[in-house]
């Protein structure tokens, strides 16, 4: 091996190591974006660094504590086969009703153009004394978007969950459907709700997307199945 070849190999090696390091850094810091706002004037956007979990899953968590409310947001998602499990805990520590919005954006791996199946569900549990959780205007309490396109809405307006006296109450909603992916590199979820003073609410839910095999692929699979069966019969 000549000196030039050795240098070239060393150069490739170094580049490979560098790319590998960059990939590791990128893999070790999948960043989600969290936005929280209230009608009392609070509004912040954070970059939340994800922590890798076994498999391809990531975990993001963030807590906000003010004298008016606390919010605890925990998200578990898979960018590869886009899905996002969402948990949101909010306490309204004032004596007045409060409107709150919480958005979380997760980067996803690029999808193949075509049909996607989605499934999603959301549950809300409410605690307090004579308290209400309600939708705001005509917006659903929870929605999900792929890129800019909102494809799922749950706990649709007008939504209201009540607790009479001191106690607890729960409601849930599920839905599924298909959409055509035309672009977008993020999967995001949005919460918008009104919560009575002194109430605590906990949301639990998730959404997932599955690529629907394209029609030619299905035809090929069917053909392969028929051919396979014919061959087995002949044998």
């Amino acid at each position: 091996m000549t000196l030039r070849q050795m240098k070239t190999q060393a150069c490739f090696g170094a580049t490979a190591i560098m790319l590998s390091c960059l990939a590791t850094v990128s893999q070790a810091s999948l960043v989600g974006t969290l936005s929280v706002g209230t009608d009392t004037g609070y509004g912040e956007t954070f970059e939340v660094v994800g922590s890798p979990l076994p498999g391809d899953a990531w975990f993001w968590t963030s807590q906000i504590a003010t004298s008016e409310f606390t919010a605890s947001i925990s998200m578990m998602g898979e960018p590869g086969t886009p899905s996002l499990g969402t948990s949101l805990q909010v306490v309204n520590g004032t004596t007045e009703s409060m409107e709150m919005s919480v958005d979380f954006i997760m980067p996803i791996d690029l999808l193949v153009n075509g049909e996607l199946e989605w499934s999603g569900s959301q549950a809300a549990t409410l605690n307090g004394t004579d308290v209400i959780l309600a939708s705001v205007l005509d917006a659903s309490v929870w929605s999900a978007s792929l890129g800019e396109d909102t494809f799922a809405m749950l706990l649709d307006a007008p939504f209201e969950l009540q607790v009479n006296g001191t106690g607890s109450n729960a409601a849930s909603d599920s839905s599924s459907g298909t959409l055509t992916w035309t672009g977008g590199e993020t999967l995001s979820v949005h919460y918008l709700f009104e919560l009575s003073g002194g109430a605590s609410v906990q949301f639990n839910g998730g959404v997932g997307l599955l690529q629907v095999p394209a029609a030619p692929s299905i035809a090929l699979l069917l053909a392969a199945g028929i051919v396979g069966r014919t061959r087995r019969r002949s044998c």
Binding site: T61, A65, T70, G93, A123, A170, S172, S200, G206, G208
Partner: protein, 343 residues
């Protein structure tokens, strides 16, 4: 509006720095012989469990009782708050590498605590996951996460922890004015592939005065979610214990979701919910803590929430009720007179 904390500081910190040196967890002390983690040798490890086997139920029950409440057979457990780290079990860099603990907002919590005058009430949590030999642990909520004093007088604590096999997020609100209230929001995810048993307890140290007629109102809501396109999620109580209970001085006084309780969520990202409540008259006697506990099995890869409120109030004595009724009547007649005078 004063913003005490906004974060995520902890999430951006290197693994090795995620545990604040002043903050610690340790397995509950056990009586009798135990291994280095404090578990009686014959009673570990806890594994997933088939409820169709009655003998296995009993074995599991005993094993779980031992590992969850190791002292329960001989003496009541001590108060939970204990923030000293005895790192004999956790040496060198093994803790962060093994556990990946996320002590959410430990640094931020320090800032939060500093920005609020006085110290918060003592509220602590005990936690155990059957797959994790580093549990059970006890931790103080004010130190492990963030806390804030609310405008309505309540104090709220919030935070999250996770390991390779589980995640736990909490928001706990306590009030001690006309009523003593403990409101706990818990989200638990089983990030392992197998079923796991979990035990979560919250303990609020508060002086509950002796009164002749007191009532404890307890209510709880559950939600369970199948975090996948296939299969289903299952939540189940212990064979002989209600899923959620309220405690006074570590003694259970009310419980909901009686054994054997099961909740199932089917289908892709399917969800199931349930609610229950109970009210009990309390026996006379003062108490120094109000607590809640939840013990349950959760299937692998799934997530659930438990939202429980317990409130203690005094029922006015008959004499006081008469005075109140008289006051109301008198007030109404006064208002009527005033209205007449104004018109």
């Amino acid at each position: 509006m004063a913003i005490h904390v906004t974060k995520s500081v902890a999430a951006t910190m290197p693994m090795a720095n995620r545990l604040h040196p002043a903050w610690s967890m340790e397995p509950l002390a056990t009586s009798g012989r135990s291994d280095r983690m404090g578990y009686p040798p014959a009673l570990q490890p806890i594994t997933s469990h088939d409820f169709t086997n009655a003998s296995a139920d009993l074995a599991m029950d005993r094993r779980f009782a031992w590992t969850t409440f190791p002292n329960s057979f001989d003496q009541p457990r001590a108060a939970l708050t204990n923030m000293t780290l005895r790192s004999a079990h956790h040496t060198s860099t093994w803790i962060p590498c093994r556990l990946n603990w996320l002590a959410s907002g430990v640094l931020a919590a320090t800032l939060s605590s500093a920005s609020i005058a006085g110290s918060p009430p003592n509220v602590s949590m005990s936690w155990q996951a059957s797959s994790d030999v580093d549990t059970p642990i006890n931790f103080d909520l004010a130190t492990a996460g963030e806390w804030a004093e609310m405008e309505d007088g309540s104090v709220v604590y919030t935070g999250a922890l996770f390991s390779d096999t589980w995640q736990l997020s909490w928001t706990t609100s306590v009030t001690d004015d006309s009523q003593t209230t403990l409101d706990t929001l818990l989200t638990i995810t089983n990030t392992s592939a197998d079923n796991q048993w979990f035990s979560a307890g919250t303990d609020y140290e508060v002086d509950i005065e002796d009164a002749s007629s007191r009532i404890l109102e307890m209510a709880s809501s559950l939600s369970l979610m199948n975090l996948a396109f296939d299969g289903s999620a299952m939540l189940q109580s212990l064979p002989n214990e209600s899923l959620v209970g309220s405690l006074l001085d570590d003694e259970q006084v009310a419980a909901v979701f009686a054994p054997v309780y099961a909740l199932q969520a089917n289908g892709p990202f399917g969800i199931a919910i349930d609610s229950a409540d109970e009210s009990v008259f309390l026996a006379a006697g003062a108490a120094t803590s109000l607590g809640q506990r939840a013990d349950f099995m959760l299937t692998g890869g799934d997530t659930m929430t438990i939202h429980t409120i317990a409130s203690i109030s005094t029922i006015p004595a008959p004499g006081a009720l008469t005075i109140l009724a008289l006051a109301a009547t008198f007030g109404r007649s006064r208002r009527r007179t005033l209205r007449r005078e104004l018109s």
